[in-house]
């Protein structure tokens, strides 16, 4: 049976032998990415937003609820979740690709 966890992806950023990335670099470049410092290893499960395909790092320290699309039974990133709240619709990435396929084969 398919579970939430069975669809997880995985990311590893290994800076054990590297000066790594500083918080200042991440902030200075406006990045939404973990700052893995010198000598550190970052390893995490990630989900993929089913609407835009963006990575969602499953931060165990997050206290807010993780956005979930009940209609398509899949994770949503915060940005697509906001769009769904504003517009009331959620278009999966697979649907967009299918539309493109039909457009090209018509």
């Amino acid at each position: 049976m398919r579970t939430k966890r069975s669809n997880e992806a995985y990311v590893l950023i290994d800076h054990r032998n590297s000066p790594g990335i500083s918080q200042e670099f991440v902030r200075a470049n406006g990045l939404d990415t973990p700052a893995v410092g010198a000598g550190q290893v970052f390893e995490s499960a990630i989900a993929v937003c089913h609407s835009c395909g963006a990575d969602i790092i499953l931060n165990p320290n997050r206290t807010r609820g993780r956005e979930w699309c009940m209609e398509h039974d899949a994770y949503l990133c915060d940005r697509c979740a906001l769009r769904r709240k504003l517009t009331g619709s959620c278009v999966p990435l697979q649907k967009k690709l299918l539309d493109l396929f039909q457009l090209l084969t018509r």
Partner: protein, 172 residues
């Protein structure tokens, strides 16, 4: 279907290019669909730093609004081929490129998926595996923007910092 590996032994992504700006002559790797109705899903992205001094890189896997024109055929030590020697060979497999007369341009759309891999190319390693996910990063067709994607450095990266990389992808 078959899983393919697009591997480059060494590229030098450079100081980075903003979205919607043509990339430099080298330092990127682009994957383009092999035919009009072909779907390629990215299973894994790996990058290993080869720089000789500290070199933070902001590497993006993103669709290209303009794909590379007149690409140079991929040559050793770079490669693109099925990971299983017994895999069925496609008549038109996806095309990997690391150099072209006219380099690609990364999409600046805010509504397309882009994967950000920020790491230090001085000894750093980054690996992301999407094999289990249903919504993998996908390119469809052989036409930009849907059919072409590149791994390249974004503005703010460190110049002259080498990496080795591979992209595993499944052709459906």
């Amino acid at each position: 279907m078959s899983v393919y590996a697009f591997q480059v032994a060494t590229i030098t992504p450079g100081a980075g290019t903003a979205d919607n700006v043509q990339m430099p002559a080298a330092g990127w790797m682009e994957l383009v669909g092999g035919s009009a109705l072909q779907t390629n899903c990215v299973d894994e992205v790996y990058m290993g730093g080869q720089a000789a001094s500290t070199a933070p890189l902001i590497m993006l896997l993103a669709p290209d609004s303009t794909k590379a024109a007149t690409p140079t055929a991929l040559a050793s030590p770079n490669s693109l081929g099925p990971t299983n020697v017994n895999a069925g060979v496609l008549t038109a497999p996806a095309v990997g490129t690391v150099a072209a007369t006219t380099p690609p341009t990364r999409s600046n759309s805010a509504t397309v998926a882009k994967k950000n891999f920020t790491f230090n190319a001085f000894g750093g390693i980054v690996r992301a595996n999407y094999a289990n996910t249903q919504d993998r990063f996908t390119i469809f067709s052989a036409t930009a923007p849907a059919g072409a994607a590149s791994l390249s450095s974004f503005t703010g990266s460190t110049a002259a910092s080498a990496i080795g990389a591979h992209i595993l992808f499944e052709t459906l």
